[in-house]
Symmetry: C2
Amino acid sequence: MKQSQMLIPTLKETPADAEIASHRLLLRAGFIRQNASGIYSYLPLGLRVLQKIEKIIREEMNRTGAQELLMPAIQPAELWHETGRWDVYGPELMRLKDRHNRDFALGATHEELITSNVRDELNSYKKLPMTLYQIQTKYRDEKRPRFGLLRGREFIMKDAYSFHADQEDLDKQYQIMYDAYTKVFERCGLEFRAVIADSGAMGGKDTHEFQALASVGEDLIAYSDSSDYAANIEMAEVITADERPNVDMLPLTEGKDNGQRTGLKYVCFKANEKLVVVYVREDDEINDVKVKNVLEADMIEVLSDQERAETGFDPFQSDSETIILADNGVKNVVNGTLHVEETNKDYINVNPERDLGVSVYHDLRFIKEGDPSPDGKGRIKFARGIEVGQIFKLGTKYSESMNAVFLDENGRSRPLIMGCYGIGVSRTLSAVAEQCHDENGLIWPVSVAPFELHIIAVNAKNEEQMTLADRLYEKYSARYEVLLDDRKERAGVKFAESDLIGCPLRITVGKKATDGVVELKVRKTGEVIECSVDELDHVISAHLND
Amino acid sequence: MKQSQMLIPTLKETPADAEIASHRLLLRAGFIRQNASGIYSYLPLGLRVLQKIEKIIREEMNRTGAQELLMPAIQPAELWHETGRWDVYGPELMRLKDRHNRDFALGATHEELITSNVRDELNSYKKLPMTLYQIQTKYRDEKRPRFGLLRGREFIMKDAYSFHADQEDLDKQYQIMYDAYTKVFERCGLEFRAVIADSGAMGGKDTHEFQALASVGEDLIAYSDSSDYAANIEMAEVITADERPNVDMLPLTEGKDNGQRTGLKYVCFKANEKLVVVYVREDDEINDVKVKNVLEADMIEVLSDQERAETGFDPFQSDSETIILADNGVKNVVNGTLHVEETNKDYINVNPERDLGVSVYHDLRFIKEGDPSPDGKGRIKFARGIEVGQIFKLGTKYSESMNAVFLDENGRSRPLIMGCYGIGVSRTLSAVAEQCHDENGLIWPVSVAPFELHIIAVNAKNEEQMTLADRLYEKYSARYEVLLDDRKERAGVKFAESDLIGCPLRITVGKKATDGVVELKVRKTGEVIECSVDELDHVISAHLND
């Protein structure tokens, strides 16, 4: 492609609201353009990268035997009523009415739609298993769209859904998809971890997130320094040794601690219309997700100060309606301290079971760096990640509510067992950009680069240089994707924009064109190789196949 | 692909609301599934055809030098306010509000968005011309969605936009796109005509529709029996010879005609808040589009009986506020007749200029079969068509209202001159199905067939047959797209479904498998060729490359 004919609106200034490198560079290098908050156009360079990622995903999905289909973005509300999600899904679900005043959603996800598509068809165990996927545009009205394509309101996802006759078969497919996802992200050149995750509003149990490591990531990952254990911080299990000190309980007393006792603290939640009080050690943090999971609640809310005051809660006099939970770490506290917010009083020699009505302990706190890894191997470290994929074992949540059943081998009607598997396609593009850049611009891995070769004539007015550049462009376009900078710009501008765009290899045709000598620059390492036109074939293929 | 693993939900019954063959067969053969009125899923077979059409379009667009990009479906209302189309576009434009109560449209078309994307960038004649296209999902809330993918509410379009410094350059690009569209539809195997059309709400002047010929088409095309002249019936020019009879005007009289005089009739419209009365000969029909164009009005409305009564209009006493128009054919009427609806009276010896205040004649009627072709060659015939593409010379309608300007060679600021070019991608799929089928099912052209070869083992329980079928499947999958019917269904079911799905070639592996002999059936002609496995290569390639 000739650069003079392409729409590549590079920006000299850094856009004001672009907080992170990928957002900044994708805008500056003319890959994307914002049309509204969280809503973007993919300009020709951006679309080329996107299509390469899509191709990798298609290849790996097809290899698993999954079949591609394409469902609509507009979904009738009736389907969402069947699963109850019309009411549960908050303002993130974009809704609209048609001219007949009927309700529709813009699909944030497609469980309802795929289930409605197969429910009459996959009616026998003989037709199972089946896995279907699509690469399609999704909508989520994010409260705070940000970071460019990382958290947008209109974005591209690959979503897959599998249907099974039994759990074992789902487990098998889950592993196949896990492996396929690993290949996809490896091929995209991402550094990532598959981490144990929370299934959130999706339902189901087992789930892994694929997290591209990046300091700007919104997710915190806990991983072992000695094994491949990794979990979203929300889900990382905390192993608490039984280390209850063998001392006598002293009488509960109002008063300040002398600094030797272990502090306790508590947080009040509302869940299923009940008051829930959770105790942890003062230097630990309560993990809402774990609390929610222990309570088997769909949602829990921390009480505001006012709501809290209204409950009239007293730790030492809690009524039987109140649910008292305590973290495993609390179990080891004898004669601890407690500050009671409601009365602004401090107590010492607090013993959880005797004084606070605690009867059962759970893992309810966030893991910390240095904690032992839950798999017993090594210690926990933290890293930040961008969630680029997630796989779920959904089970029968959707098939039961939508009556998607099949006849098993014994002629009994049973709900389909489902898995679902997502990749944020546009988000993967951003994650690659976030991992692969330097201060001068983007550095695309060969597999997803918009062009593999960037040919620049230093002086476009010099006939010899342009002739050689044209000749190389013609020659290599047959084998590679080549961008030719044929613009009559200053060499400095061309070089700077070439670094900004970030194709893996650059061929610079300069003064030595007369002697048939050009420069090859490797964008990633900065290495510059002077070589004759005859040697080019070899040098290029060595680098692009590396 | 093995059929046992594919989602192909064929239907034995014809869906009740499917009025036309393509809709019926695409549903019955499991290519698409309806999710809501005018909203469909493309199942694996349907998506394969769709992707092939998309590939053809991409190849032909890229060949013209157009660059692909991808714009969002959700568009901020502000852009539509800039062009005024937010208010002009009726209920067909789907609208929604985000969580902050801001207005958005689901793109029915992307003139506003593309113009906003380029308006700061294409700021110099040096950067022109440029053509950009996308293949993307569009939304139109049709009053009466019908005919499956032909008139849907969510559908896939290829839309392209070109930007030019002068009209001559636009004219050049228009011809390039005209030629590219011709290639696209030829490659898709469509029988079509490029017809002169009305630019409607899009603005601009020159425009052609590409109409796939089909008896169920919603558009009526007038074409010459002796030249390549073709026009949408709305736009077909009527040539009226000057044949005014040389007789004296007789006095206007109330009374019934004896059957020898030429009848006149009139219709009352409202346009720009004025009463417009249009006269034509009794056996002609008024063409609203022509009336609208003569008036240079955005919209005209036929008055209801009540509205008409309220005007108090009297043909013989019209006031100066009323606009009187007459068709060219009226000019030749001397001593005609007129029935006045308002008073229910009949008149004879009506002379338009003398009695009706007619002073000027225009081409205002629909063309009829048998009329002379406007290009002077032959006579007009009618055909019905499905509009699969349209190309427009937009001019500066959008660039002016959105202030998209460039500096010309003399440093003067001028609005960009635009063209726009659409292909209904999903509609093309339907149009091919509508043209290519028989009573047994679909008959896909090789270029867009979901699979090129369909291999069937007559008896899947017969080991010899299955082994040979498998072997052929493996062998030809390396060269062609092959569907293997490995299901344990009765042979009759397999044959019927194979005809329904409509792959170009079918290889039937039956009893003669023992002797290495199979049957090849050509779907289109029904021809059956018995041949040895050794001869297959040759026979297949002869048919698929035909």
